[in-house]
Amino acid sequence: MTDAPSDRLSPALRTEALEQLLVERELVDPTVMDTFISTYERDVGPLNGARVVARAWTDAEYRAWLLRDGTAAIKDLGYGGPQGEHMVVLEQTEDVHHVVVCTLCSCYPWPVLGLPPSWYKDPAYRAGMVRTPRRTLREMGLEVPEGREIQVWDSSAEVRYLVLPRRPAGTDGLDAEALAALVTRDAMVGVAEVAAP
């Protein structure tokens, strides 16, 4: 407090300084930065993943492709880009419940889910999901039946995971668009199930 270093350490100031210096050296173009920001604030989010899931629920051939080659099948719907280069899709079943974490740095499949929520980045989630997944899921509101195995997938430097939730009962009459509206981000990370409408 005495030497008032807090301002100099303020992340807002340091960020602004860094950006100014990089712009002056023509290493970054602020308009490109603006485009990235608006892309992830407005255009890219969990609805992309929800469309992938809904397509898989309504198209057996697509589902098989998605589970075999997630990257290509997801790209086929127009979703690609940074952090989506190597996608693996994990199918929830009666026997196995998948949940995704990145213990080291919060890697996340941006093209299908957007940017990660704060709980995904939190140390409590990253550590808890690895050590005590059943309890951590319960704390997040998901009770996984005792007989169902929980598999925790820790994102590596290369691979990003997307969970394919189970289709809820009573949705036979719904088309892909209506189904997509049911699918939540949390279900595609594996910390929730998709609720029936």
Partner: protein, 141 residues
Amino acid sequence: MSACPDRPAGPALDVEGPGAPPRSNGELVFAEPWESRAFAMAVTLADTGLFTWDEFRDDLVARIAAWEADHPDDEPFRYYRCWLAALEDRVVATGALDAVTVDERSADLAGRPAGHDHGDHGHGHGGHGHGHSNGSTPSPN
């Protein structure tokens, strides 16, 4: 790494619907404006090739690990602070900037002398006419 800004935005998305990205579940993507700038700087620099994403990721992993190994008991985890520190680490490692230069400019922005040994800054503040405002008020967290 493939670029993304020129990619068509795809079908129009509903902003209020159940799948509305990415503010669904009542959560903003970025808590403060500087977080979005730090995010975009790293993505842009990886995209243009000043460094690779894996290099940046390694620095981010190191910064997060360092925070987890040693931090004040009452200090909450701030992901984008680690992100910013990693970004500085990586930019400095490329030789594009040195840390003192960032310190000095930050101090200039805070409206105070940078320190004792660096009386000769030749830099001006013009020429960055992009219209965003991070606000110079130090954040309380």
